[in-house]
């Protein structure tokens, strides 16, 4: 393999990986705080991406401007979904929780199919045509924005959880909900806000992702599964782990497409990693079993 392909794969891997990391942070926040495995996460993202598409075609000329639209909407949407579907099952068995979110994902996916049809959509940004050429490696401006934006949002989320008063109650509620109630934390409200924050990650990820990736109702499933791999890789409920896991999966994917004799078998590699992890190291690569947020 020559160095151009190698470097190009690194560039592509890092930009997709940063977005995977951001998406996975939302998932890991929801899991870390209330132990819910959200199988509808990728479908939330898909809806956010349609949000970008429609705001792009109706309101804004640039996909990044739709952040103004998708961020508040995903926060409110997350709250709504929590109240309607997640709150009733907080004390159910983990399997039942998975099944409810799975059903929710099905509804969201097929609703999108009914409303938006299965046509593939593209969104362009004003930056879509600008790129930096280093030697023979192309780095598009949208890739750089995706990278910086994702890392920034992950950092903001980390700061909220580690430094703010809200973050303190989030951590308290995730470590011991009963003790948290005893010291006067409104745990249900903390759950509500955490779930909404998890959805907001997707509201930020969608505009960053759309210039790089097509939109269709069925991509949700793919992103749900990929973000699970990232979360398990980094250790469920672990932010730093999700960040590292995102890059590992992004790079694995990018190199898989160039190195494997059949490029389209790359997901097999990723699911293979996933199975091996679940079997032999379910606590993730960072390795502390049961770590939370």
């Amino acid at each position: 393999m020559n160095s151009t392909i190698f470097l190009q794969a690194i560039v592509n891997g890092l930009s997709m990986g940063s977005i995977y990391a951001l998406i996975a942070c939302g998932l890991t926040l929801i899991f870390g705080v209330m132990n819910i495995i959200n199988m509808a996460h990728g479908q939330f993202l898909m809806w956010a991406m349609y949000g970008v598409f429609f705001s792009h075609s109706m309101l804004f000329s640039d996909s990044y401007a739709s952040l103004l639209f998708t961020v508040p909407l995903s926060f409110v949407g997350g709250m709504l979904i929590f109240v309607l579907f997640i709150r009733p099952i907080l004390n159910d068995s983990p399997i039942n929780q998975i099944l409810v979110t799975l059903g929710l994902g099905m509804v969201l996916e097929n609703l999108a199919l009914v409303l938006f049809t299965s046509d593939l959509r593209n969104v362009t940004s004003g930056l879509s045509n600008s790129k930096i050429v280093v030697g023979s490696v192309y780095v598009s401006a949208t890739q750089i924005v995706a990278f910086i934006g994702s890392i920034a949002m992950t950092f903001v989320l980390y700061q909220i959880v580690q430094r703010s008063a809200l973050g303190r109650s989030i951590r308290a509620a995730s470590e011991d909900p009963e003790a948290a109630i005893l010291v006067g934390i409104k745990v249900k409200r903390v759950y509500l806000i955490s779930f909404a924050l998890g959805a907001t990650c997707l509201g930020v990820a969608a505009p960053l992702l759309t210039p790089l990736y097509y939109i269709s109702p069925t991509i949700g499933e793919l992103f749900t599964l990929t973000s699970f791999v990232v979360v398990v890789l980094g250790g469920m409920g672990n932010f730093t782990g999700a960040l590292i896991g995102g890059f590992i999966i992004g790079l694995t994917e990018a190199f898989g497409y160039v190195l494997l004799p059949v490029g389209s078998l790359t997901p097999v590699l990723i699911f293979g990693i996933f199975i091996l992890l679940l079997l032999f190291k379910p606590e993730g690569i960072l390795g502390t079993r049961g770590s939370r947020v």
Binding site: V100, G103, M106, L265, L278
Partner: protein, 336 residues
């Protein structure tokens, strides 16, 4: 557990008789098709239930079993001319072996609950991706079963009624296996494992052994179903028979009907499949995923409001009625 024996058998036989006589009514081909698919999904749900319901190990990768069965018999038939009636058993056994391999790795490493479910999803996705990229199996464009006209020895019939009876036979066999499992020691062991695995282990039950047995049975039966699908539709592709969508569909029926009961899974399919079919026929042309939208909604509502399914609901009503009757008897005795 024993008490259900006396009222469940006559009901089952009656239902079987109704199903055997139904085609005499001169049903339209459309209704017949709906019935066949309903029976087929009832069978897949019953197969899922042996591992997911009795043993409590929820698999979300059953499409892989169905697909392995369908692809095996179709490949053997189109390449070597081996009758699907024989290929069906080979496919079933291969699906069962795949289940054993998956179950052995997962159970050996102590995976349960959500983690087992995630592993089954990933394993089924791998099977789908491999088939998608395998030219000998037709890749994304799928395989067509060679059409030989009416040829019962090669599992092809001119009339839908023949397929209908095969489907009835399959489901009856699936339910019979379920009855045998639930009445046999195996069933009690599986329920013990589901309710409290550590306690079952402490009682000396070889939990790994029995979970694997359930996995094999579930995979084997699902594989048989795959061949039926291939021979009935005469076309298979990864999207229709190996996708996560099919795995989810298989799990929705038992949840609606009642997980871990003998008749619940089939009952769920009998209720939900026609609803989905109705939705498809009303909005069909304009909206592709409409029936899956309904299934997803049913799945959510069932878990939230009716976690024990229709069978659980019926049992509760019965218990309430019985309780009232008993209260009346006691009252009458007290008056005397």
């Amino acid at each position: 557990m024993k008490s259900e024996a006396f009222w469940e058998y006559p009901v089952q036989l009656l239902v079987l008789a109704v199903f055997l006589l139904l085609p005499l009514w001169g049903l339209s081909s459309y209704v017949l098709n709906t019935l066949i698919m309903m029976l087929f999904f009832g069978f897949l749900a019953t197969a899922w239930n042996i591992l997911g319901g009795f043993a409590g190990q929820h698999s979300l990768g059953n499409a892989a079993f169905v697909g392995i069965g369908a692809y095996t018999s179709t490949f053997l038939f189109s390449q070597y001319g081996i009758s699907p009636w024989i290929g069906m058993w080979i496919g079933g056994v291969l699906a069962g072996i795949f289940g054993l391999f998956l179950g052995y790795s997962a159970f050996r490493c102590g995976l349960k609950g959500p983690f087992f479910l995630l592993v089954t999803i990933a394993a089924a996705q791998i099977v789908m991706l491999v088939v998608l990229n395998c030219r000998a199996l037709g890749g994304a464009s799928g395989l067509t079963v060679p059409y030989v006209g009416s040829h019962p020895a090669l599992f092809q019939f001119e009339s839908k009624i023949a397929y209908y009876y095969v489907a009835v036979g399959l489901l009856a066999a699936g339910i019979l296996v379920s009855i045998l499992v639930s009445r046999h020691r195996l069933g009690y062991y599986l329920v013990a494992i589901r309710e409290n695995e550590d306690a079952a282990c402490a009682l000396g039950i070889d939990t790994l052994h029995y979970k694997l047995l359930a996995t094999f049975l579930s995979g084997f039966l699902s594989g048989l179903g795959g061949t039926f699908y291939a021979q009935y539709i005469l076309f298979i592709d990864p999207e229709s028979i190996l996708s996560l969508g099919l795995s989810i569909e298989i799990i929705v029926y038992p949840i609606l009907g009642g997980i871990g009961t003998v008749l619940g899974p089939a009952l769920g399919a009998f209720i939900l499949y026609p609803v989905g079919e109705l939705a498809r026929s009303v909005w069909g042309g304009s909206a592709a995923g409409i029936h899956l939208l309904f299934y997803g909604a049913f799945l959510m509502l069932c878990i939230i409001f009716m976690p024990k399914g229709v069978v659980g609901l019926v049992r509760r009503i019965q218990e309430i009625l019985k309780g009232k009757l008993r209260a009346r008897e006691v009252e009458a005795l007290a008056k005397e």
